[in-house]
């Protein structure tokens, strides 16, 4: 690079960001975090120690946020308009599930966490109906 070019070259780089999707999607990620919420509520109810209970609530909050994140990624990045033909209630399913995550955040009722697991299973069925693991996972080596 000549001295002039070096002198003229910009000192700051800015980016026009786009998502760079890896193409790996699986509702199992959301389910594992939702199972954590379920188990934490169980443990919360079985323990009366206030410090333990405070920690349990804080951890449930974190896990629930991860459920929401994983559901959002599936909703925004994996599912496409053409999938609505196979799953006409897709938006409603995600709307209800993400609302349920907010409920689980605020709740220590096991039934709320169970309902969330069931809703994620419905999303899992939609994922499978539209391609599932065959399209969005890397094949594991046989055991």
């Amino acid at each position: 690079m000549s001295r002039l070019t070096r002198w003229l070259s910009p000192s700051t780089v800015v980016r026009a960001h786009c998502d760079l999707p890896c193409g790996i999607y699986d509702p199992e990620q959301a389910r594992i975090e939702a199972e954590s919420c379920y188990k934490i509520i169980e443990k919360y109810q079985a323990n009366s120690d206030s410090t333990y209970r405070t920690r349990a609530i804080a951890i449930k909050e974190e896990r629930a946020e991860l459920v929401k994140h994983h559901l959002d990624v599936l909703w925004h990045d994996y599912f496409k308009p053409e999938h609505l033909e196979k799953v006409p209630k897709l938006h409603e399913m995600f709307w209800n599930a993400t609302k349920q995550v907010s409920k689980v955040k605020a709740s220590t009722d096991l039934a709320d966490a169970k309902k969330l697991l069931d809703q994620i299973d419905e999303i899992d069925a939609a994922w499978k109906a539209t391609g599932g693991a065959e399209k969005t996972r890397v094949v594991k080596q046989p055991a």
Partner: protein, 117 residues
Amino acid sequence: MRPAIEPGDWLLVDPRVRNWPAKGSVVVFHEPDTDELAIKRVTAGPRERVSFAEGYLVLGDDEAWLTADADSAATAELGFGQPRDSRNYGPVPIELLVGRAWFRYAPLGRFGRLRRR
């Protein structure tokens, strides 16, 4: 930001903030969710109404709506997903704007003023 800006373009940025963000201009700003410097076009300014999530929202007195020129087909061609802009992170507070990109001085084949839309 294709076709207005291509990767590797060298741009002049005007840091004066009076009378802007003007709708249609290209601005450099700190992304609200990452704080990284990014470049997008102002598609709506303070107090304007924008479509959002099958409804609309009205921008505040100190907010702008910044979007990419490239559509998802153009970004897919380059191997990317959806453009990341106000449709992901919502309105951008004006205090995060750094300046208006107004002139491209390299490459020479694309030398000239950046047009507003």
